[in-house]
Amino acid sequence: MAKVKIATDWLAGCAGCHMSLLDLDEELVTILGEVELTSSPITDLKHPPEVTVGIVEGAVANTANINTLKEMREKCQILLALGDCACFGGIPTMRNLVGTEEALKRAYIETPSTVDGEVPSDPELCQLLDRTRACNEVVKVDAYLPGCPPSAQAIGWAIKELLEGRLPEPVGENLRYD
């Protein structure tokens, strides 16, 4: 049987969910017997081919995140939001409590160690959105696995559910928000 193609990517996140994926350790070898990991921060390939499962970590905080997320959505049949940021918005939404402009001013101009600071405005850079969002506010998401990060065990469980043709619906130990 052909291996199931999976692509992963991260948006506004901390890489913690991918670290947790790697924490599957030797179980990864078993999983990779049935799965082909295509584009991913782990393989350092940036653009997903056509895949069965797309996995994204992180919230949508800037225009680049929107592009990455939309590209993943177009290329995958099933999109799994991995971790609290992708599922709910998470830590990057703390910015929403003060507003983007205020957050930029604080970060680039007002910090005590900053001298003559300015908010970066190079046209090459992506723009921060007015507020950070969960993935399902931007594209259709098919399955969710919250956690900060989700445990390796929960990620392994979710992948197995997908391989068996079910959309994971985490409960019990597999459902955590911290």
């Binding site: 599922c87 709910f88 939404t93 506010e137």
Partner: protein, 591 residues
């Protein structure tokens, strides 16, 4: 009350007339999800988690719907789950409910419910309203962002503590919890009893000291007794990694009773005080660290010298009536063998009189007349004050105040006799006599309660004792210290020794914050002073030998509270390595 029978999930369940559907479910062991429901306060049905379906397919909140005979109730269905899940998602979307940076994560009822209902995403965009966190209070933080407007805090503040500090402003989605309308906690009428923090289901109200230091499941929970006053409120010490993080009130699962005051919840851990960590002895006028053996030898030598030179009556054993009964009994037997038996006292010990049946705290709410007597009555027994205020507010119980009390109690008293000192006794004795403004109330009352605060608690009430056979009137005598009654039971009086003649004093202060000045005020002239104390105090600074003591949360023992009940102190953590308890010290001194 008559019994009623209804059907819940197809099975017969019984309840009492007047029960809510929720109460019947609880008794039948059916676990309905709840958030705003809190034992001990009235239900308001704000969170909509306890919804149930009736036979006519109406969906109602179980906590506010009376159970009726013959009712058919369904507590679980796809429809109910869908509604609960939607409501829960709306709660999450309304403010900031991200768990990973919340102090309550792991101990949060909102989070528990989301787990229970399998909430793996929220279908509504979060609103992120700009809301403030009030960090002004010394001991707690109030973060509006985490508030779900369940009003548990508000109801607890009003109905359990009778303090009415919290309220709600605005309407609908704009509703916010307010402190005295629009004050910061620090500038408000808040009495810092911390009940609001304990009842908050989320991280909206949290304790500064224990925040982010471990969820409850990672902590050791130890049941003990608050040593701050003679009420002996039951507490749960929350400890982790050799530190007590927090003192929680032990709340009765049956009726939700269980309160603490600021002293018990926050100040009893002695954070602001400097610990005695090693034995100290005076050398060239200053206290210097010495070993335990040296300290004991010096103490023994000093005490023996006074005994030899000035006789047995010149050496006093003094303890705080805050110490546990075992420590006090040890001092009593030490005095019997090493000093004169009559030369041991416990400051704050209660005198013994022919007791009427002991009243208990719930009797304050059950009484139909409260006679409150004392100076600054209930100031040192705040929880009793909460209950008196509740009785007046909720039951319209008439209050007769003899002496002085808070402005609020003075305002609430039907009769106030503002007397002091010896006049207190006279006022109490003549209470029932014709012409006394309180006499008609006393005559009319079926269940009068005498709540006697120091110094009125030392006044013998013959009239009260005479009427005791009927069970009422009852007397709740509040002692000066936590174990005032235990001290009396251990055979230690509060007075009766000649402080002026003392040439040496062995003082067991424990962790009592008040004993230092009380003892210093009685001492006179040159004397040899040994102080066993958990903290540095003016008394330890005057001592010749200082011995480190464990604090209340570091030792086991028993006390007798004002209600006459034996209550237990249990160690939540190890004492500091240098500390030894009273019995060890007295044994070392006698050997």
């Amino acid at each position: 009350m008559s019994e009623i029978t209804l059907t819940i999930n197809g099975k017969e369940a019984t309840g009492q007339q007047g029960d809510t559907i929720l109460a019947v479910c609880e008794r039948a062991g059916i676990d309905l999800p709840t958030l705003c429901h809190l034992k001990g306060v009235h239900d308001i049905g704000t969170c909509r988690m306890c919804i149930v379906e009736l036979a006519d397919s109406r969906v109602v909140t179980a906590c506010t719907t009376p159970a009726e005979p013959g009712m058919a109730v369904t507590t679980e269905s796809d429809r109910l789950t869908a509604i609960r899940r939607s409501t829960l998602e709306l709660l999450f979307a309304e403010r900031n409910h991200y768990c990973m940076f919340c102090a309550a994560s792991g101990d949060c009822e909102l989070q528990d419910l989301a787990y229970r209902l399998g909430m793996d995403h929220v279908r509504y965009p979060s609103l992120f309203p700009r809301m403030e966190a009030d960090t002004s209070h010394e001991h707690k933080v109030f973060d509006q962002n985490r508030c779900i407007l369940c009003r548990r805090c508000l109801r607890a503040c009003s109905e359990l503590v009778a303090n009415h500090t919290l309220g709600i402003r605005e309407r609908g989605i704009g509703s916010i919890l307010t402190v005295d309308g629009s004050e910061a906690f620090a500038d408000s009428t808040c009495v810092s009893c911390g009940t609001c923090v304990q009842v908050c289901p989320t991280g909206a109200l949290f304790d500064k000291r224990s925040a982010y230091r471990g969820r409850k499941e990672d902590c050791t929970l130890v049941s003990s007794t608050c040593p701050e006053c003679s009420l002996g409120c039951q507490v749960e010490l929350v400890a982790r990694s050799g530190q007590v993080l927090r003192v929680d009130a032990t709340v009765s699962p049956e009726d939700g009773t269980g309160l603490l005051c600021k002293k018990g919840r926050y100040e009893s851990l002695g954070d602001a005080r400097e610990r005695v960590r090693t034995p100290l002895a005076r050398e060239n006028g200053a206290l210097q660290p010495v070993s335990w053996d040296e300290a004991i030898a010096l103490a023994r030598e000093g005490l023996a010298k006074a005994l030899e030179t000035h006789g047995a009556s010149s050496v006093l054993g003094v303890a705080s009536a805050r110490l546990n009964t075992e420590a006090l009994a040890a001092l009593r037997s030490y005095a019997e063998t090493a000093l004169a038996p009559t030369n041991a006292v416990a400051l704050g010990a209660q005198g013994i009189f022919d007791r009427t049946p002991d009243a208990t705290m719930p009797d304050i709410l059950a009484a139909d007349l409260i006679i409150l007597a004392g100076e600054n009555a209930t100031a040192d027994h705040e929880v009793a004050g909460f209950l008196v205020n509740r009785a007046v507010e909720q039951n319209d119980t008439p209050l007769v105040l003899i002496g002085t009390a808070t402005k609020r109690l003075v305002r609430r008293a039907r009769v106030h006799l503002p007397v002091e000192g010896a006049a207190l006794a006279e006022a109490l004795r003549t209470l029932g006599q014709a012409g006394n403004p309180a006499a008609p109330l006393l005559t009319a009352a079926q269940r009068p309660l005498f709540l006697l605060c120091p110094p009125a608690s030392e006044i013998v009430l013959k009239e009260v004792a005479a009427g005791a056979e009927a069970g009422w009137p009852r007397v709740l005598r509040l002692g000066e210290k936590a174990n005032s009654r235990g001290a009396a039971a251990a055979g230690l009086p509060a007075n009766g020794v000649d402080w002026r003649a003392a040439k040496a004093i062995l003082c067991l202060a424990g962790d009592d914050p008040g004993l230092s000045l009380e003892a210093l005020g009685r001492m006179d002239g040159q004397l040899f002073l040994v102080v066993h104390s958990a903290y540095r105090t003016p008394l330890t600074e005057r001592a010749d030998v200082v011995l480190p003591a464990p604090a209340w949360f570091e030792k086991n023992g028993t006390m007798i509270n004002a209600q006459g009940q034996e209550v237990h102190l249990r160690a939540a953590i190890e004492p500091p390595p240098g500390a030894r308890d009273e019995s060890e010290v007295l044994m070392a001194l006698s050997s």
